[in-house]
């Protein structure tokens, strides 16, 4: 059971309004405002420490902003009660930067967790879907292993499986291909694009692999020191003459 959409016609799936966050006397997010239309995939770029992961957590309602608000599917994330927030989150799959796999569960149980939480899926189907997901990311037969036995790249892929297995309409990826070889990396990106084309998912993809996200995202945003330097479509980013945008997009540094 999920929360009913509260979107009006033409409303964006995700609306971020003036998000500001202070941390230890510093402004780590500074009035970030952006819209993500339904069915689009936003590529979120920026140097390390720019606040990308933090922004994603604020959008997911995991961290409270000091100013501003976030609307997801028309619901103000900050004012939903615990029950409604839980229902809204059944619509969201999330890959965490640090994998966030449950140490106490094996790979299979980790990936099955979102399905078991949502309920209503028979056990054989859960098992079949876990196997299918693992095969898709090139890790067949590791369901019985524990996260501590896996490499960083393997954990990232398991984390990816766990996020996408319930086929949620919203997907948040925090660096989904970090630590992966180029072949596996492109497999993940292709899988990601297929889900979007077939399922019409709305996604935010944080990545340092700009060439990797160029073909899969249709909107791009660049965050620097907590400020949104750029936000727009592919055509707009290609036309932008902002120096940092050019450096990120063209992939070189001119100083």
């Amino acid at each position: 059971m999920t929360l009913l959409s509260a979107l009006g016609p033409g409303d964006p799936m995700i609306r971020v309004e003036g998000i500001t966050k202070y941390y230890l006397g510093a402004t780590v997010l500074d009035g970030v405002t952006l819209d993500i239309p339904s069915g689009s995939n936003l590529g979120l770029m920026g140097p390390g420490g720019a606040g990308k992961s933090l922004l994603l957590k604020i959008i997911a309602g995991l961290v409270e902003p000091d100013q501003g608000r976030v609307l997801v599917d028309g619901h103000d994330v900050g004012t939903l009660d615990a029950h409604k927030l839980a229902q809204l989150r059944f619509n969201i799959g999330m890959v965490f930067q640090n994998y966030a796999l449950f140490d106490s569960m094996n790979v299979g149980e980790n990936i099955a967790f979102p399905l078991r939480q949502r309920g209503g899926v028979p056990e054989e189907e859960i098992q079949a879907r876990v196997r299918e997901q693992l095969a898709l990311v090139g890790l067949p037969g590791i369901a019985h292993q524990y996260p501590r036995e896996l490499s960083g790249g393997m954990k990232k892929r398991v984390s990816f499986c766990r996020a996408v297995i319930p086929a949620p309409p919203l997907l948040f990826y925090d660096d989904p291909t970090a630590g992966l070889d180029p072949v596996t990396s492109s497999k993940i990106f292709i899988h990601l694009r297929r889900m979007q084309q077939d399922g019409g998912t709305t996604a935010i993809t944080i990545s340092h692999d700009i060439d990797g996200i160029k073909p899969i995202c249709d909107r791009f945003a660049l965050l620097d020191h907590g400020r949104l330097v750029f936000h727009g479509t592919r055509d707009e980013i290609e036309a932008s003459d902002d120096r940092l945008v050019r450096q990120f997009w063209d992939g070189f540094s001119d100083d």
Binding site: A60, R89, A100
Partner: protein
Amino acid sequence: MSQPAQPGLAGRFLSAIGEPVVYTWREVTGVARMAALVFQYMLRGKIRWDAVAAQMYEIGNKSIVFITFTLGFLGMILVFQAGFQAEKITGDLQLLGALFLQILLREFAPTITALMIATRVGTGIAAEIGSMVVTEQVDAMRMNSAPPVEYLVVPRFIAGTIMMVVLVIYAVLVCYLAGMFTGLYAFNVNPHTFVNFAFVSVLDVAVCLVKALAYGMAIPLVASHTGLRTHGGSAGVGWATTQSVVSCSLSVVILDFILSGLSYPLLAAAG
């Protein structure tokens, strides 16, 4: 409003007092709110018994040897010291065992056991939950609508409470037996004389169990609360672990003070 760059002596004194007071207040209200949540989940039957069993096993496994040793040695030391003093003053050791059992039930067994559990189990809970926070596992739970209090705190709370009562009863036995052998070998007090229930009433047993229950509920709550408030990477886990020992031990001592104060009139009235 402009602020003086350097606060005066009075200012520094006040902030030195104020900071811990504010911290303690926030801690106490936070733990109280969490306790309310835990009871809500329990009343709604949201108890994962497999997790409770795993936690009980873990607590028992971690503590049994530790408690056997500390309470065993403590029993020997207490009886030796008491016997030594009594021998000098009255020379009469008839009531040694009876008095020992009374103080053991009212005070030593529950409180020392709880202090041991606070260091052994409390730190474990804080470190475990704290590292789940910094590795984003708790965020992942929340994203899958698995409330951390229901999944992590409720099982530890139930297991901690049950195991504390069990371990306190075990501690009484160990400590008493160790005391009895010390009486026999150090002072030649016959076990028949040592085992004497004259000074022990149902009320003493009740005080012992009520204290065990109170500590058993407080330690997992305080430790879990500290763990869930961890932030800032692995250094944060270190902070949570240390903070948990301090907060858990402090809550044991304060609860002891309150419960002893409340039970004293009852014990006095009963003779």
